[in-house]
Amino acid sequence: MMKMTSPAELEKYRSSILEGIDSGRPSVSVCCGTGCSASGALEVVSAFERLLEEKGIQANINTKITGCHGFCEQGPLVLLSPGNRLYCKVTEEDVDDIIEETLLANRVVERLLFVDPVTGEKIEKEEEIPFYKKQLRLIFGDNGKMVPTDIRDYLSLGGYSALAKVLKGMGPQEVIQEIKNSRLRGRGGAGFPTGLKWESCDKAEGDIKYVICNADEGDPGCFQDRSLLEGNPHLVLEGMIIGAYSVGASQGYIYVRNEYPLAVKNFSTALEQAREMGLLGENILGSDFSFNIKVVRGGGAFVCGESSALITSIEGRIGEPRYKFVHAAEKGLWDRPTVLNNVKTWAAVPLIINRGAEWFSEIGTEQSKGTMIFSLTGKVNNTGLVEVPMGISLRELIFEIGGGILEGRKFKAVQTGGPSGGCIPEGLLNLPLDFEKLAEVGSMVGSGGMIVMDETTCMVDVAKYFLSFTQEESCGKCVPCREGGEHMLKILERITRGEGEERDLELLKEISDTMQCASLCALGKLAPNPVLTTLKYFPEEYLAHIKDKKCSAGVCKELIEYLIDPEACTGCGRCLKACPTGAISGEKEAVHILDQEQCIKCGNCMEVCRFDAVSVE
């Protein structure tokens, strides 16, 4: 690849790429994000490669392996152009039909189309599917259009034009001002204004400055950072280069979770390509500006998503947070001025530079500008990644984009913000999503996790789940978090065993209060959120566990019983065979009986019963 020595040369190269693209040539984009790969997308790709070669037409059709398209529930996804047709749940066996029918004869393969669960209607085009219709995919939209490991694809979609624009005629101050004007706020959780952070780093004294990308996405149920790095690594990289230019940093780091090998690989490839093309390294695009980036793989500690702990970890030590009365922007990595931003924040930067702060600040709410990417998961029909303008209501997100609750069950709560966030009840579904509104109800935007819960989810169990997570991930440096978390967990375990007392609820609030006031970092300060919000919005569930010794959701083992309905039982023997303890007895074709003494509440019988004869109470 040729090294570009000026912004003009880059633009010339871009034109030559665009000229070379034959827009009439059919293309097949197979989503190979984590979800689709796990459902067999790689087998679909090899089937395409094999069959196109067998038919001798591989040269006429462009096959692309792309990053995550977001609609994980329907994967593996195959997008065909021209026409922007989306095929869902594609298997190897479908590939021959797709080639013969759609690619060669321009006919639709009906059985692979998305079926609207509400109307039963088949939908052909990606943009007409309700899941995509209400989204505003500014950052995430190019995932799926490009091969993430080919810089030319990124360039063909306008990539690195923001960097070229900056180097051609914007001074560092001007860039910072533009980001300030856009009113972009950090997407990692705290929502700190990005421009202000950059400005204080720029003003801080020091010859050596650093920029860091926080890609230690540890919140369970969040995978948008991963999908961006896997599917569009150059976008994040371009944002980092522009940030480094504006604050005067010469070295950058990206701290990626070690569980994300593909993100590490694709980002590293992007680094190499950018270096070869003169977009990274010495004298970027022929300017005086030089900048380099190192990839650091995380060690699997949730607390390292906290900025000061992350910095300590890059320094090669155990990831314990520091006191934050001095900001990282002044004294960060090796005590030097450092800008640390989340993946999504960096990814927003090129957009703002290209399209202007004014455009960006018109999207969203008064206080929260732009779009946010959420991982919509749990008991929702359309699991996946969604990008929406700030200010959209939870109801629109869950019921219109998300397609409602699985198996037509009743919505109970939505948990936002990961282990540090809270559970929001049905009564607040019209809440517009932004930093302030979610904080007001005791939750947070956080890194964008959104887990939908239905009537079969026990809220006390959910609180216990999050607390056991934060308690285990507490680094142990400060007492309130280390001890407070452990004791709250013990209380919750007692309650879910049916051994709780009413005064436990007061005790939970009291410990929460101490943790919020006195913990060193956000992990401890926010850890009580799931407990406090469930106590606030679902007090009756706690009381049912404590007073009536009942778990109405049928989750807490010590409080439930599995029952066989003699009316519905056909005596087929499936549960008898499946029971690991021999607790079920009964003759063939006679009603089966479950001995509660021997039952270990594994739920196997309920899972295998074909006649809905097993219930839980």
């Binding site: 994980c72 793989r297 995380g298 890059i314 090669g316 996790g449 789940y465 594994c602």
Partner: protein
């Protein structure tokens, strides 16, 4: 065990000029042996002149490091929130019952290591587990049964 110091030396050499890279160094060693053998940590400590306590503090703080050898097959049950609300705890119970070990342990015959993992980002497929790097989604207890027994059969035939 006898350690191939050649490999360790080349890993040490790779990070010779990187003052911050102890974690990366341990990650590479861990990738080589699938755990961190104590004698290797001691050897590295002497070679790079860093107190062994410093390396052990890293090895015990970060969850991706193991000080015990792992079994032939690795089973990681995802305990992320999305999987949790879709029944992951029951799936973990099934795996641990079936293999008769607790999460984090290895079976006596060294064939299986069971671990929990916080989230692998394939939430649409939850509950799920990762078996030797391959994802198995939309789990049921029966699927787990088949998966763990299937691997038995395969191995028995090949051995």
């Amino acid at each position: 065990m006898t350690v191939d110091l050649e490999k360790v030396n080349s890993i040490i050499e790779k990070y010779r000029d990187d003052r911050e890279a102890f974690i990366a160094l341990l990650q590479d060693i861990s990738a080589e042996y699938r755990y961190l053998p104590e004698e290797v940590i001691r050897y590295v400590s002497e070679e790079i002149e860093v107190p062994v306590s410093r390396l052990f503090s890293l090895a015990t703080f970060y969850t991706s490091f193991r000080l015990e050898p792992r079994g032939e097959h690795e089973v990681q049950v995802c305990m992320g929130t999305a999987c949790h609300v879709r029944g992951a705890p029951r799936m973990l119970d099934k795996v641990t019952q079936k293999l008769n070990i607790k999460p984090g342990e290895t079976t006596e015959d060294k064939r299986f290591t069971v671990e929990t993992v916080n989230c692998v980002g394939a939430c649409a497929l939850g509950p799920l587990l990762v078996y030797d790097g391959k994802y198995y989604g939309k789990l049921t207890q029966r699927k787990i049964e088949k998966l763990l027994e299937g691997s038995n059969d395969e191995d028995d035939q090949s051995s």
